[in-house]
Amino acid sequence: MTTATMDDPAAGTAARPPREPRPGLMTSIRRSWDRYWYAWAMIAPVVIVLAVLVFYPLGYGAYLSLTNANETNVAKDIGPVHIGATYHWVGLHNYWQVLSGRDGDFYPRLEWTLVWTVACVAITYSIGLGMAMLLNRKVKFRLFYRLCLIMPWAVPAFIGVFAWRLMLNSQYGVFNDIITSVGLPAQDWLGSPLSQKIAVIMVNIWVGVPFMMVALLGGLQSIPGELYEAAEMDGASPRQRFWNVTVPGLRPVTSTVVLLSTVWTFNMFAIIYLLLGNNTTGDTDILVTYAYEKAFTGVSDYSAAATYGIVILLILVAFSTFYRRQLKPEQA
């Protein structure tokens, strides 16, 4: 919005003189600088901070992914002793290793990452929508319910995850205490890769629902009541009102929260890492936790971890672009 208002006077002044041949690139940059130096100066801090915190690490990561850098061959400054870097450029070798499936780990990890993301986002969205609709009507103690349902969001993620880990404990956990007290056999909640996968999805849903609910509640409240009244007058059933008024009315909110939620879930490190601990078969690792293992166990493999990082980034960028493009025409 701000850019549009800034552009407008510029467009006005540029239009005033009679048509001239287009100025050269350097001239236009200089003119732009003369006219907008103040604006550039104002955004300089942001640009610098972004460059230092985002672009430099990103660029460095991309560079490392094209080398064979690991902890044994990077430069070291050991006090007075300096050991130069001996890693070298390997081009796209790392990417080829990963994408051709030669390292044997990428595709299994990608598959589970996709299952995990789709399952988490779909279920979280559905539950969040259901709860938002329940809370969007006039009920007693509505504020109380809303506060309760936001609780998981207010608890720091790692505390919530550890609480779940304690509750799911197969020998001393509260869930098994409850089900054995009513005579059912104790369950091994985190005992096999499949049950571990179900458990991490469940916990991630628990963590993610409040955000969905709050966002969708906001969306629901912005749908004008007249639309529902009109639909009711036309004899639409509750189901028809949901599909033809609520769902289209929520579309702008939905598109944003689904995008955000997908990106977050795809890179949700804490839940998988903290809920399952170290004793896993590796089947429950998503791409991010796998890349972490590459970088931070034993002798660090920087280039492989960086390659995974860049591949994850590219997957998410591709997804976001595609997703936005799909939605744009419908919105317009």
Binding site: K76, P80, G191, T297, G298
Partner: protein, 433 residues
């Protein structure tokens, strides 16, 4: 080739650096002896990273540092306690950039080859840090060696043993702890039959705890001399088959997300009769209902033997190492020497109940501690792990496959073959069968 050049350059730089510090020396030996000649003249500030338990163990080390500063008034020690779980990454990051790295670090014995191969820690042969070396026990001393040089000084040692609950053994009518894995299985069956609600053991799925079984069959992770990965050798397969049998017949079901905590809770509350564990766990055991106030109920025995008849467990513990980039190497050497001296070790053993690494530190006074007295004979079964820089990385694939085997998701042979394949990726130049 390039790496070779840089190693030579580094060696030259170190020699130059030491000469510059020592000043007076004209030949190699007197350079290094300079600090030893007049330790009182050494001055400066050094940083020490301690990884001992911040609540129970650290005060002993802090008190010793006070003594050190009293003895060498010109040296100031900056004590920092760093969490054991994260110290490896923290130290490596600091050591690599040269910023914020400690001068002396207390490090797990298993990490010495990794740090040494990355040039982070200094070789200590001929320095003041190593004194009275023949007094050190052979096992712990072995952990400090990498490619023929000494990179650490043993501070405390430990190994895995068999801890057992004497009450439960008495109830089941078992008179002596098992000496082979098959006896352990048989005893577990007896316990299960005679003492209701109590299981024989709780298998720890961490691959470190697989070592006694592997060693019992003469198997190991790899063979550095023959450049071979040996984790899928017939001996290793036999060992892991035995481990799986122990789990299936004698163990409580593992809770994989909280294995260690559940194992400890089950043992200290008397739900499990025996554990393969180290001396570090005894303090925790004694807080549980089965042992609180009756320390004598806890029995100590060596790990059971495999079919080779040999009972062996890995040597653990901690060494002190000196950062190669320390600006004050002389003071660091002196500090390392002081902290690993027999007198200091006796103090540490007396207060913390950890096992000293010097023969002379096992005084009658120290042996009054039941944990130390219990574990001292077990130390005879300790043997070093294979000294490879990549050992830390090897644990991950082995553990993942071991868990698959325990969960019944893959057969022993398939699991170990898969682990061997991963080992092959991590150990360049090694052959995988």
């Amino acid at each position: 080739m390039r790496r070779g050049i840089s190693a030579v350059a580094m060696a030259a730089a170190i020699v130059l650096g030491v000469t510059a510090c020592g000043g007076s020396g004209s030949d190699d030996t007197s350079d290094k002896g300079a600090a030893a000649k007049d330790p009182a003249a050494v001055s400066g500030t050094i940083t020490y990273w301690d990884t001992s338990d911040a609540k129970n163990e650290a005060p002993t080390y802090q008190a010793l540092i006070k003594d050190f500063e009293a003895k060498y008034p010109k040296i100031k020690v900056n004590y920092q306690n760093v969490d054991f779980g994260t110290v490896e990454q923290k130290f490596k990051a600091a050591a690599q950039s040269g910023k914020g790295a400690p001068d002396v670090i207390r490090t797990d014995v298993g990490l010495i080859p990794e740090y040494a191969s990355l040039h982070y820690i200094a070789p200590l042969d001929g320095t003041a840090a190593l004194s009275d070396t023949q007094d050190f026990l052979a096992g712990p001393m072995n952990t400090t060696k990498y490619e023929g040089k000494t990179y650490g000084v043993p501070s405390v040692t430990d190994t895995l043993g068999l801890l057992y609950n004497k009450d439960i053994f008495a109830k089941a009518g078992i008179t002596a702890p098992p000496t082979t894995w098959d006896e352990l299985i048989a005893d577990s069956a007896t316990i299960k039959a005679k003492v209701p609600g109590v299981a024989g053991t709780y298998v720890n799925p961490d691959s470190y705890f697989l070592f006694p079984v592997l060693f019992g069959e003469g198997a190991d992770l790899a063979d550095p001399a023959g450049k071979k990965v040996t984790i899928n050798s017939p001996e290793a397969v036999k060992a892991v088959t035995e481990a799986k049998k122990i789990y299936d017949t004698s163990s409580l079901k593992i809770d994989f997300a909280s294995a260690y905590d559940n194992m400890q809770t089950s043992f200290k509350t008397g739900k499990v009769a025996m554990l393969i564990q180290g001396p570090w766990s005894v303090g925790d055991d004694l807080t549980g209902s089965a042992f609180q106030g009756k320390e004598s109920n806890l029995g100590y025995a060596p790990v059971p033997a495999g079919s080779t008849g040999k009972a062996q467990a890995p040597t653990g513990g901690h060494d002190l190492a000196v950062y190669q980039g320390s600006k004050n190497l002389d003071a660091s050497y002196l500090f390392t020497q002081f902290m690993t001296s027999s007198a200091s070790q006796q103090t540490i053993a007396g207060k913390n109940g950890t096992l000293p690494t010097r023969t002379s530190a096992y005084t009658p006074e120290v042996l009054k501690n039941q944990t130390i007295a219990g574990f001292k004979p077990i130390m005879d079964t300790a043997r070093p792990r294979v000294a490879l820089p990549q050992v830390g990385s090897l644990f991950t694939p082995l553990q993942q496959e071991y868990i698959k085997i325990l969960q019944g998701k893959s057969s022993v042979q398939d699991g170990l073959d898969a682990a061997a394949k991963e080992f092959g990726k991590l150990l360049p130049g090694y052959t995988v069968q």
